[in-house]
């Protein structure tokens, strides 16, 4: 029996009057790769941002590694150390070199000596295949390279869960592959991953579970085979036909 690392129970969230998340139930098993898709505004980004408390939920329960997310800052810090996140806009720190971007959190959060942290940083830069860019600044890199640095930066904290919030949506088409390759490699190594993306090719290769969200609800959750070939809800069918046939 596999260990449940993330569980959401009856999670509700509002932005003022707007009900973004409606009764979300989800449990993620260690090593599972879940791909979340859905139209914009469906709450998929908000959902994964709740998992490391970049957004606070108002009702329900979110438990990560047996630690419940509440207003308790200590719990939030514990969870953030174990949950990495990759953003659509990369969010690299423009005033720091690539190496400093990656070694910053190990130095300040894990209190690692600078030299060790830089070795860790270099090893992850090699993993994402751009060790030669270590001394450059983010502004000097291409979008794909920046996103790979961002992935390396998250990995340097040695998290056991990775959240990806539309990691390829801000990239030019020719750069998407280099980022997806890194993510596929990560999946093969057994990382627990929650990925918000519309890259259905990636979803088919990597996902254990597909989730379709619409209007703040999880409309459909299935294994990729059923999800793509035999979707149950009409909303999912419509969405899939729109995104697969363009």
């Amino acid at each position: 029996m596999s260990e449940i690392v993330i569980s959401l129970e009856k999670v509700n969230k509002w932005y003022d009057d707007f009900h973004v998340l409606k009764d979300i139930d989800l449990s993620v098993v260690k090593g599972q790769k879940i791909v979340i898709c859905g139209p914009s505004g469906s709450g998929k980004s908000t959902m994964i941002r709740c998992i490391n408390r970049l957004e606070a939920h108002q009702e329900g329960k979110i438990v990560v590694h047996n630690t419940e997310l509440t207003n308790d800052l200590k719990n939030i810090d514990i969870i953030r150390k174990n949950v990495g996140m990759v953003f659509q806009q990369f969010n690299l720190f423009p005033h720091l070199s690539v190496l400093d971007n990656i070694s910053l959190a190990p130095i300040w959060v894990k209190k690692m000596p600078k030299k060790d942290a830089e070795e860790v940083a270099m090893s992850y830069l090699e993993k994402v295949k751009i060790p030669e860019q270590a001394q450059k600044f983010p502004g000097q890199l291409s979008g794909g390279q920046q996103q790979r640095v961002a992935i390396a930066r998250s990995l340097a904290m040695n998290p056991d869960i990775m959240l990806f919030d539309e990691p390829t949506s801000a990239l030019d088409p020719e750069m998407i592959k280099e980022v997806l390759d890194v993510m596929v490699q990560l999946a093969e190594e057994g990382m627990t991953m929650l990925v918000v993306t519309h890259e259905m090719g990636f979803a088919k290769t990597v996902a254990d579970q597909m989730i379709f969200m619409d209007e703040g609800r999880i409309v459909e959750q299935a294994i990729p085979d059923d999800f793509f070939n035999n979707p149950k809800s009409d909303r999912t069918k419509l969405f899939l036909s729109q995104i697969l046939n363009h």
Binding site: N52, L54, D77, R80, K81, V83, G84, M85, F87, Q89, N91, L92, F93, P94, H95, L104, A105, W108, V109, F137, G139, Q140, A150, R153, S154, M157
Partner: protein
Amino acid sequence: MSSAVINNPLLRSKTGIWLKKNLFSSWLNTFITLVSIYFIWQVGSFFLSWAIFDADFLVNFRGEVILDRTYCSKNIEPGLHGACWAIIDARFYQFMYGFYPAEEVWRVNLTFLLLPLALIGIFFDKLPYRKFFIYFTFIFPFIAYYLLYGGPTLSQVGTNKWGGLLVTLFLGVTGIGLAFPLSILLALGRRSQMPIISSMCVIFIEFIRGVPLITLLFTANVMLPLFLPDGISPDNLLRALVAVTLFQSAYMAEAIRGGLQAIPRGQVEAARSMGLTYWQSTRKIILPQALRISIPPIVNTSIGLFKDTSLVLIIGLFDLLGIGRAALADMSWIKLYYEVYVFVSLVFFIFCFAMSRYSLYLEKKLKTDNSQ
């Protein structure tokens, strides 16, 4: 176009082309240019002959050393001569040091000499051995206090004896230096999620910005002793310093808040998602970026403050301008207004112009840094 014009080497040179394009492109432009040149020539030549060519420096036109106003050439032959700068020389000591005892004045000079050393580390980030300059910046205030005010082995010189440029620089530099950390806290506080902290900062900033500096100076002068325990009566200069610091911190806080707002939200989110605490992400990620952006407005308010320090003369302190006005009241130099005011303006101008140039240099540097 006639061949004479085409062959004219002046009109084909770079300057020639620039002149034609910018100053003489049409009849109207030519007319405006000529009028402007005439105007500049009139004002400039009048000023230069008044200030330099027809002026007395240390001796008058008869070659006598100027001892008081009656020796000034313009008072001997009215209407024929320019400025009489001897008043500046006669009062130079006061302009620089106020009433600081002459035998101790080396202490002020030493402080003036050390000041650039304390500032250089902050101003230039590519300086070799910058770390040591920055260390010096932090110990400089204590050295300066010891030198100027006195302490073990140095006799005490009360601030009532300080004056002139010493007071202007003391208030300007210390005010800006103390206001800087305070303003960072205020700017961060104003953006805080915690309602009590943010409303306290808003009230403080808005209150200070809504009140003229003169009012603050009066308030500090009269009210500060009321807040302190009996028997402790801070001296006038300290009261002025408190007012100036609070005033400057409110304005600087708004400049820094502008910089903070320019940082995309994703920067904080990325930092926090990696487990950095609020203070860590503020210190390592947000402030380095925000302060870079806010440097021009910070320098701008600092220039403003530097000039505003002259308002302390209304609470009885003798800054540069205060000393100037005291000099004018002296019977032996009476009526030499222009010389004194021009000199005081010049000194203020030198400092403010330097700050303004530095700000421009930084803006240029930031542009190249960002285009990396």
